[in-house]
Symmetry: C2
Subunit: 403 residues, 2 copies
């Protein structure tokens, strides 16, 4: 559907879209000849020659030696050198902040974890982030952008989060005002699960579908959805906040005001609370961080402890109820489950699949793949970088003098 | 986000997009000068002159007499005569089929309701639809397209429904195979609530936002979502099926395999069942159609019957729980509630607003408008026509020899 508020398809926007297609092709397929690119993206050889000349001139892509083309003809290859451009990624979680430097291909160059954040140290943490980023930028001239991932519900247009369960102090911070114009390179901010969806799309070819959901189950429960190749944002940017969808209208109360929110049943804090309440399985659970308590439980389950296995099955059922919501609201082709709780592994996935088999509409269950993320658990910082990398590939004229 | 599978922005696709913008402008704003259009859609006067000349030549738009332009200069007006092109709309519900002829502006020219459909008369109904449409097409040369609205979950790419509660016989019908190539004009098929969203967007200026949800609560419960100007479909076309999102994982069993589906609590059949079970409020409810039973209840409530009012409040709570799901999954700017249950009126809306006030995230509640549809209850047939009208405005080259 085209709407009245769309920008007209101007020469400039068409040129940018075509540049982006060429960059995307080189990013995902590696060294390619002009003829291969022309065929893949559906542009004329003349258009490819013109656009690639411009991209070579500004140093965004390079010519390589001859490569083998169709019918054994030799032709010159073109290459986007992903290691030449660096991106800073910043992950904000409730009590955890990580800052990393990555190349465009997601290779880690540096990764720092800041001291644990408490309500009273939020300002200090923000100051430290500024300082660290400035140092990184001064030392590494190849950094071209900064991506940030923040917990949802993130009011994307306004710049702050609407609710952060058990850590409401973060709501004071306006991320846009705080960071957007603070550095010599552009800053892009996204809800954390959407950042995870972009990272999966960009960096894991097996997950590259135009209908992808990244289901983040960690300190909170979040969701990022790519529908028909586009991220779903909603009017305020708080769409796909599955953590606050109720699975039981008579259920547990949540900080957001709702009752029975999914987040209250299968997030790391919910699992931690379950362990503390139970008391015997992980006797020292009360003194642990959420992630540590969860990992102890998952280890016990993997070692065959019957009670721990039953608890993982319970968690799996709730995660599965979330999958049913995702099926019926977003109907993605693939759901990737990531963050702390995905470490429960195959036993979790087995229970999710049992729920899906029992309760999902057959035609959806048969065609939707559910997998555990193969990204490291702290992948959200990589996701933060992917937010900026996506901008770099989609809108190169934000970074280079292009017209 | 641009993805590798996007079609390249070819000359042809840019030309079509610009034509569509001009048609949309004339459709929504009425008679306009070339200069007004150029300003509104962001194209050069030269481009407007070229494209409008082509549209005039094929008879899609006309020049009118002089109109008053900027600085009191007179200029020639351009007009899209919405009454000149007719669209057939077909609504399929569980037991109800309606066929209408409308003009592009949604004015009803003819509206027929077919005899009630039963499991054993589905084939007969299909044959009758073919016959009626053929007669309409032979009598009215100005019909340019057919739109159809079918109950979800509709597998949009495959052409059939996945589940039709209490009327599973419809699942046998492949709408694409049955109708797509059966007539001299193109046929477009859409899930019914999405058709309602398109109708609201097209025909009700007050609802024209790029983030619109149409929440259909009738024989089934459905949802159509326009996010950032685009309809959300999902991989198979069964996205936004809110009727089968569970509000209680320990709740009532549903035909779809899930438990606690919203549809089991506030659809017309659910309300009807509530009335039959109660027994005294509408004593002859058992022998009625679903819609009739609901209307009797709503009338009693409007007349002040305390028990009926309490029942409407109960229904309103469930409809409100659905709004919370819509808030947290799609975050639209506006939710329009339509079909049978919206006839309960202000008392229903009051209870929905109470639920929202109690349970929604403040920032979302403050910025999301919930209204009852101002379309007639049988608006889905108008929605069906709107599906085809949207295609006519977006892709005129499907209807006219344009290049």
């Amino acid at each position: 559907m085209t709407t009245a508020t769309d920008t007209a398809a101007t020469q400039a926007s068409v040129a940018e879209a075509n540049r982006s297609r060429i960059l995307r092709h080189l990013y995902h397929h590696g060294i390619s000849s002009r003829a291969q690119i022309a065929k893949a993206v559906g542009l004329t050889p003349a258009a490819i020659t013109k656009i690639t000349a411009q991209l070579i001139e500004i140093g965004l892509i390079d010519e390589t030696g001859d490569i083998e083309g169709a019918k054994n003809r030799r032709s010159i290859g073109l290459k986007l050198d992903a290691s030449r451009f660096h991106i800073i990624g910043v992950k904000f979680a409730r009590s955890l902040v990580q800052i990393g430097i990555f190349d465009l291909a997601g290779q880690t160059i540096k990764l720092d974890t800041l001291p644990n954040v408490y309500e009273h140290t939020i300002d200090e943490t923000i100051a430290s982030i500024h300082k660290r980023i400035k140092t990184m930028l001064s030392k590494d001239g190849s950094i071209v952008a900064i991506g940030m991932a923040v917990p949802g519900p993130y009011l994307r247009n306004a710049g702050h989060t609407a609710v952060v369960s058990s850590m409401q102090g973060w709501r004071r911070i306006n991320f846009i005002e705080e960071f957007t114009h603070a550095f010599r390179v552009p800053v892009f901010i996204e809800q954390d699960a959407r950042a995870g969806a972009l990272a999966n799309y960009l960096l894991f070819p097996g997950n590259r579908t135009d209908n992808l959901a990244y289901y983040l189950i960690g300190e909170g429960v979040g969701l990022g959805v790519i529908d028909n190749g586009r991220i779903i944002n909603g009017a305020l940017g708080v769409a796909s906040e599955i953590g606050h969808v109720s699975i039981d209208v008579n259920g547990r109360a949540c900080d957001c005001g709702n009752v029975g929110c999914l987040e209250r049943y299968c997030s790391a804090p919910a699992i931690h609370a379950m362990l503390v309440e139970e008391g015997t399985l992980v006797p020292d659970a009360a003194g642990m961080e959420h992630a540590e308590a969860c990992r102890r439980l998952f280890l016990l389950a993997q070692e065959g402890n019957a009670q721990a296995r039953a608890m993982v099955r319970t968690i799996g059922r709730y995660v599965g109820y979330g999958c049913l919501i995702i099926f019926n609201t977003f109907n993605p082709e693939r759901i990737v489950i990531g963050d702390i709780v995905s470490e429960a592994g195959q036993a979790l996935l087995d229970e999710i699949e049992r729920v899906v088999e029992q309760r999902a509409i057959g035609a959806i269950a048969e065609t939707t793949t559910i997998t555990l993320s193969t990204m490291p658990t702290d992948a959200t910082v990589l996701g933060a970088a992917a937010v900026a990398t996506t901008q770099f590939l989609d809108h190169p004229s934000q970074f280079f003098p292009l017209k």
